[in-house]
């Protein structure tokens, strides 16, 4: 028995001793790694600084050089030595995109030409065929930024990928390359189009010529609510009054968020035809929809609606009353509020003073 305990104790000492050695050795390695990482980063930062200075000069010569093909070729050739080293090449590409981002017209075209001439297109295509999703995204970003048309099919495949991040980036890249036409993917979209993705898509398409906008009526009837919400945002950005009837129909949609956003769009587009329906639906609507309706009145209602609004002050409800008073102030100004004051309860009078002094 004693012998067993002694063995056990010896084993335990060996295990703990081994753990100490393992922990200590790993700690030392981790510290050394931290020092190496820092040293490498600092060295690369210095190298990058120097390179960027050199590139700035090269880019300025290239962009403002003569249109003469021979001279342009000479300017372009000056970049080529930098494409042989991986680090230099990455900084060159980074600088090129940094400049391209802020440029349009001929200068942007010239930069695209340089991108193609230096063989970066092939690199970007290799990237979209990588097995690592974040490398694929970098490739797609580069190709779409430079509007390289012939890669659209490859990117389209990625827009169906299981990886949500990759899929989203592919959709964005396609829209950048093919414009409104690429929004076709919305027709078959079964999952939710996140608000974030909607913002990114809107940011891209807002600069497109609205004449090329595809018909959106069908999408407003989509069973995917996120698509309806996205199209509502498009309607707002491009002021699509032509969708008026379809928008009014959405006031009866089952999804409350769609109803609320539709009311917002109707207000932005100043569609006064919706007033009668909204008044009719008001009493059976939820409180959030009622609040949004009252807010809309501030944008499109006329003096005749004041009676409807004043009726909503018959009962005290903080949120409803506050919105009603704000709307009346927007339509008729502070004077009307003063007129209403005697007919209000003391609580409502406090709300009125609140509204009178706010900047909304």
């Amino acid at each position: 028995m004693n012998l067993f305990i002694l063995n056990l104790q010896t084993d335990f000492s060996i295990i703990v001793g081994t753990l100490i050695i393992v922990f200590s050795v790993i700690s030392i390695c981790v510290f050394i790694a931290a020092f190496i990482v820092r040293h490498k980063r600092e060295r690369n930062q210095q190298k990058e600084k120097k390179l960027v200075l050199q590139f700035q000069e090269l880019f300025s010569n290239f962009l403002f050089s003569s249109e003469n093909e021979e001279l342009l070729g000479i300017s372009m050739n000056k970049f080529k030595p930098y494409t042989k080293n991986k680090f230099n090449k990455s900084i060159l590409l980074k600088t090129l995109f940094k400049i391209h981002k802020d440029m349009t017209g001929d200068i942007a075209e010239k930069l695209k030409m340089l991108y193609i001439e230096l063989g970066f297109v092939d690199d970007s295509i290799k990237k979209i065929k990588s097995s690592k999703w974040h490398i694929q995204i970098i490739g797609m970003r580069e190709l779409s930024e430079m509007r390289i048309q012939n890669v659209a099919d490859d990117i389209a495949i990625l827009s169906l990928d299981k990886n949500e991040i990759l899929r989203r980036e592919a959709q964005l890249a396609l829209v950048k390359i093919n414009g409104f036409q690429a929004l076709n993917f919305l027709n078959n979209l079964t999952y939710t189009l996140s608000e974030w993705q909607q913002l990114l898509l809107l940011e891209t398409i807002q600069y497109f010529n609205e004449k090329n906008l595809p018909p959106l009526e069908k999408l407003l009837k989509s069973e995917n609510d996120s698509i309806v919400l996205f199209v509502l945002k498009i309607s707002r950005i491009f002021n699509l009054i032509s969708l008026k009837d379809h928008l009014i129909q959405l006031l009866n949609h089952e999804n409350e968020t769609i109803k609320i956003d539709t009311i917002g769009v109707l207000g932005e587009l100043q569609i006064t035809d919706s007033l009668a329906i909204l008044k009719r639906n008001y009493s059976k609507s939820s409180k959030v929809v009622q609040l949004k309706t009252l807010e809309l009145f501030g944008k499109i209602a006329d003096e005749q609606s004041i009676h409807f609004l004043a009726k909503q002050l018959q009962l005290y409800d903080y949120e409803i009353n506050l919105q009603v008073l704000r709307t009346i102030k927007t339509i008729e100004g502070k004077q009307k509020l003063e007129e209403l004051k005697p007919s209000l309860s003391s609580k409502q009078q406090n709300l009125l003073l609140h509204v009178m002094e706010e900047n909304k």
Binding site: H134, L193, S194, E195, W196, Q198, L202
Partner: protein
């Protein structure tokens, strides 16, 4: 007699040993998950152009609720920092919670505030609102100052929730210096959700601002604190934020969104009853809103953002540090007691099975077990029952593990955000890694024990836990 009984001695020593081993293993597992998740986050967000939200008219409006109590020394600069955040649609609700210093007077003067008529929708009960102030200057239209009777931090936050009309609220400590893009980064998870899970809260990394250079409310230069305790807290914060919370976020088991900075869904906060007026209102709130969502059978997520978003001044004296840790401990115990029905309760999923027991066994019990182990050790010395060879071996093992864990957090920092750029910082940190387990850690453990003691015996469980501020290295705001 008791300590001469072999069975009892073996039971106690083996128990402590097993507890320590499980704790260390848990830390290792959490670190691995954190590393994987941080790597994924960095890759995913390396392409993100946050300014796109900034430019979008569809960006959600956010109310920043900043409660303040006797913050006169830094209040002007703090508000300036909040007003210079990069975001389109936001308002700042500064709640002066009955400060007894000249905070309000300073604010009135610096921001040309005037009293306005304001009616508040009292959805959550709070102490009386004395007055609401707005600035007469157009450049400060985002600012609303609410002066109220003192009711504690939770009460002040609830007042802000009553006043806000927006769906998203950022609850922050007013003394924090926010990174200009903090809101942009925090709002993203609320917008990018494609699945049915609703994001109800997002927390960010808190960094130590002591010795940093701040100008006009903005962080100009990150510096390693000169003070020993502050330096130790740099290491501690690195470990907590870089190696722990990212893992909990991945597991959707995050229980704590730091009171220093958190973005929340206001409707859910109000529906769940707002902040509870206890000292640990931040952890209690997250626990409650998670419970609320589970009970209402709604899928949800609490997310964590590993980017440095917020810089805060940490205690530089043992007295203030002790008070802070004491308060944190009391807050945690109260939360654990309030939500005791979560304990291994499978109906609450991850919250009941993993998160709550983790907090119970490791966050609350760990310092107690450690303290008891030390007592046990002293008693064994007294009875001359110590096996010194084992003792030295085990202590060295614990010490080397502590060093390894700190080293990993330093490497993680170097590989990710590398905020401390000065060349000698790594050497300094290395020195502190070796020293910290002997000085800082025992003191924090002792404060936690005192917190337990005070929780049981003290009547005054609710207070702001005043912190003496030294102010940042800064320039005066005109």
């Amino acid at each position: 007699m008791l300590f001469n009984n072999e069975i009892i001695l073996n039971f106690l020593s083996t128990g402590i040993l097993i507890y320590g081993a499980i704790l260390a293993t848990t830390y290792i597992i959490l670190s691995i998950i954190s590393a994987i998740e941080t790597n994924h986050y960095l890759k995913k967000n390396s392409f993100v152009n946050y300014t796109k939200i900034l430019a979008s008219p569809f960006a959600p409006t956010i109310s920043i609720i900043a409660p303040a109590y006797n913050e006169s020394l830094t209040i002007i600069e703090n508000v300036r920092s909040l007003l210079s955040i990069q975001y389109v649609n936001y308002e700042v609700l500064l709640i002066n919670d009955g400060s007894t210093d000249d905070s309000l007077e300073k604010l009135i003067e610096a921001y040309a505030l005037t009293k306005v008529n304001y009616t508040i929708n009292q959805k959550l009960p709070t102490e009386k609102i004395r007055a609401v102030y707005k600035s007469a200057k157009p450049s400060f239209t985002r600012l609303l100052v609410i002066d109220k009777e003192n009711g504690g931090k939770a009460d002040a936050l609830n007042a802000g929730l009553n006043i806000s009309e927006n769906n998203l609220v950022a609850c922050i400590d007013v003394d924090c210096i926010l990174e200009p893009d903090a809101l942009l980064k925090m709002v993203k998870p609320f917008l990018e959700n494609e699945k049915e899970e609703k994001v109800i809260a997002a927390g960010g990394v808190i960094r130590v601002a002591n010795s940093c250079v701040v100008k006009d409310g903005k962080l100009i230069e990150v510096k390693m604190p000169e003070n020993f305790l502050a330096k130790s807290q740099v290491l501690e914060y690195m470990r907590t934020f870089l190696l722990g919370r990212m893992a909990w976020s991945k597991l959707n088991g995050l229980l704590l969104v730091s009171g220093a900075l958190g973005l929340f869904d206001r409707k859910i906060m109000i529906a769940a009853g707002g902040y509870n007026k206890i000292v640990g209102e931040d952890i209690e709130l997250v626990t409650r809103i998670r419970k609320y969502m589970t009970e209402n059978e709604e899928k949800y997520k609490v997310v964590y953002i590993p980017d440095p978003l917020c810089w805060t001044e940490v205690p530089e004296t043992y007295k203030v540090l002790g008070r802070q840790r004491n308060r944190w401990t009391r807050g945690m115990i109260e939360t654990l007691i309030i939500h005791k029905n979560l304990f291994f309760n499978p109906s609450y999923g991850m919250l009941g099975i993993i998160s709550y027991p983790y907090w119970f066994f490791y966050e609350w019990l760990a310092p107690i077990v450690e303290f008891l182990a030390i007592l046990f050790f002293v008693v064994l010395i007294y009875f001359n029952r110590i096996n010194w060879e084992y003792f030295i071996l085990l202590t060295t093992a614990v010490y080397s593990f502590a060093i390894l864990f700190s080293a990993l957090s330093i490497l993680s920092e170097e590989l990710t955000y590398h905020q401390y750029s000065k060349k000698r910082v790594l050497f300094k940190l290395l020195f502190f890694v070796l020293l910290e387990p002997f000085i800082f850690h025992p003191y924090v453990m002792w404060s936690s024990i005192k917190g337990n003691f005070n929780f049981i015996f003290s009547k005054n469980k609710k207070n702001w836990g005043e912190m003496t501020r030294t102010g940042f290295k800064s320039e005066v705001v005109n």
